[in-house]
Amino acid sequence: MSLASVPPEFPDPENPSATTGLVTTYDTEIVDPDQAVAAAAGALPAGKPRSTFRRGLEVFLENKLAVIGVAIFVFMLLFCFVGPLLYPTNQLRVNFANEFISPNAQHLLGTDASGFDVLGRLMVAGQISLEVGLAAAALATIMGVLWGAIAGYFGGVLDSAMMRLVDALLSIPVLFLAIVVVTLVTPTKTVLILVIALTSWLTTSRLVRGEALSLRTRDYVQAMKVMGGGSRRAVLRHIAPNAIGTIMVNATFQVADAIALIVALSYLGLGIRPPQQDWGGMLSDGIQYVNDNYWWLIFPAGLCIVLVISAPIFIGEGLRDAVEVRLQRR
């Protein structure tokens, strides 16, 4: 389903089934008046209404920071996953003869304490940061959406019980919870993804619950129930998809927070174990040499972290504006 989902009053012409089970066919020509006016005014070729998605996309693209955020994030993905193919380096064999070489033509960003090429290491370490960040955020979002949608849709005692559990978990700092779990289980990539996901779905579930509380009273959900639709259909086909705007915005912030959390864990020595390393591990190794002027061990990794956390925030803020276009029409 697309980014700016369809407001309930105006089923998406291109994808009617996703919006409501009530109306099955929608002529693409039938649109609300102000869209028709905008189209007639020459904004777009006549007969092609501007979908909510298009309008949201336009607002998103107008936001320069959001576009920069997308560019940074795409660049980071290419840097980490395609970069090693173009700039192959040895990241496995320690070579102390090569330690602390300052940047030169052969090692563009110098080498570290074990003789690893820093630029090449940034690429490989970034893979872990990005994989863990994205996977944890995706998992946390799915959990949060289901939890929140179910609680909000059913309401009553179930809602209270489910949300009190969320309140309880929210009152423990995520970093504390992660530290306790990581001391119990050896932190591999999978463990980190699970730990971060299990501790960060809470805010998503709160937001989605709020949306679900208002969505469940909507006419089209009521109509579906009258027609014999079950709760499962209501939650999965109506509540969750219609909260997609809120969910997407929140998911981008989840990515930023997940990456920040592995960085913090790595600094505390509780992150991914050698020979693997993430950006946080590189940075916290690097700052041990803060007095030796080995700036290439600190600033490149620091910059990568700041950029990769800022980018999703910029994207999220652009998305929020884009989603508000849709909210204004409600």
Partner: protein, 319 residues
């Protein structure tokens, strides 16, 4: 109002109860036998001693009796005992917690005092240079790892230009915080900047929300000056959600304090927690978790009450 209060207090009690269940479950999930851990690795040769230990400390009871026993001790203020440091968790906290409260308190107040004007200026000058400047500022400090910020502050203001000492005030008691206040300045700056990045964002969007409200138009229509509208109407209303934010962001600020304390070697609660994690000293980890969780629950309860007192609309909706 009374109904709202009672319901909110009842909810908080349930949340605290769930926290204790979760913490207890974590305590039980820890691998290994407490008797062997405490009596020493050779104690398995002496099953009698283990049995006696289990009996003495209630480890032979079923899990629900153990939970009940633990909960009763907790209510009496017994947070557990660190066998590794041979000291009760409560007395350890007595030494470390005030230091964290001091650091977190000063930083939060400073961040709040700075965030309010910054958020207002950003909202009023939306999409102008000032707005972009502070937006960039808050994003960079939000994105920058807390430990990097701390290390950079040490590098520039303790090593390159030696104005401040590179670590926080050392020594027992709260007195050192005042006699050695100079050493506390870098940790305070570090934590303030992180917290400020969070608060100014909220303040900006809160003011933006209020600027479009009807009462702003009404106030302008009746001839109130721009300044009066901003201060008497918009600012007052924008501050209300900040009360909730303060309650909810407590865990985040304390987590930030954990990193800041370990960077500056400042013997607060976060430092204690981190050292306990490295030593697998679980009673300390769980005792601190309970304290932080209860503080957060009470904090958000107070914030909600403040919200209801400040904004009558909340009360009507909740009833």
């Amino acid at each position: 109002m009374t109904v709202f209060l009672l319901r909110r207090v009842f909810q908080s009690l349930i949340v605290i109860l769930i926290v204790t269940v979760l913490t207890f479950a974590l305590l039980r999930a820890i691998p290994g036998n407490p008797a062997i851990a405490i009596l020493g690795p050779n104690s398995f040769r002496n099953p009698g001693a283990i049995r006696q230990f289990d009996q003495q400390y209630g480890f032979n009871l079923p899990w629900y009796s153990q939970y009940w026993l633990w909960l009763r001790h907790l209510l009496a203020g017994n947070l557990g005992f660190s066998w590794k440091l041979n000291q009760s968790v409560a007395s350890l906290l007595g030494g470390h917690l005030p230091k964290t409260i001091f650091l977190v308190g000063i930083s939060t107040i400073l961040a709040l005092v700075l965030a309010i004007p910054i958020g207002v200026i950003q909202a009023v000058r939306r999409n102008k240079f000032v707005d972009h400047f502070f937006n960039g500022f808050s994003t960079v400090f939000y994105a920058m790892p807390a430990f990097l910020l701390g290390i950079l502050l040490i590098l520039f203001f303790a090593i390159k230009i030696p104005i401040f000492p590179p670590e926080g005030p050392q020594g027992e008691g709260l007195g050192v915080l005042f006699t050695d206040f100079n050493a506390l300045i870098l940790p305070i700056i570090s934590l303030t900047l992180i917290t400020l990045a969070l608060f100014s964002r909220y303040m900006r969007s809160s003011v933006l929300d209020n600027l479009t409200e009807d009462y702003v138009r009404t106030a302008k229509a009746k001839g109130a000056s721009e300044r009066r509208v901003l201060i008497r109407h918009v600012l007052r209303n924008s501050l209300i959600p900040i009360a909730t934010l303060l309650g909810l962001s407590l865990p985040g600020i304390i987590a930030g304090a954990l990193i800041t304390e370990s960077v500056f070697n400042y013997p607060g609660m976060g430092y204690l927690f981190y050292q306990a994690a490295l030593n697998s000293d679980y009673p300390i980890l769980l005792g601190i978790t309970i304290v932080v969780a209860v503080a957060t629950v009470v904090g958000s309860l107070l914030a909600d009450i403040a919200y209801a007192v400040l904004d009558p609309r909340v009360r009507y909706v909740s009833q």
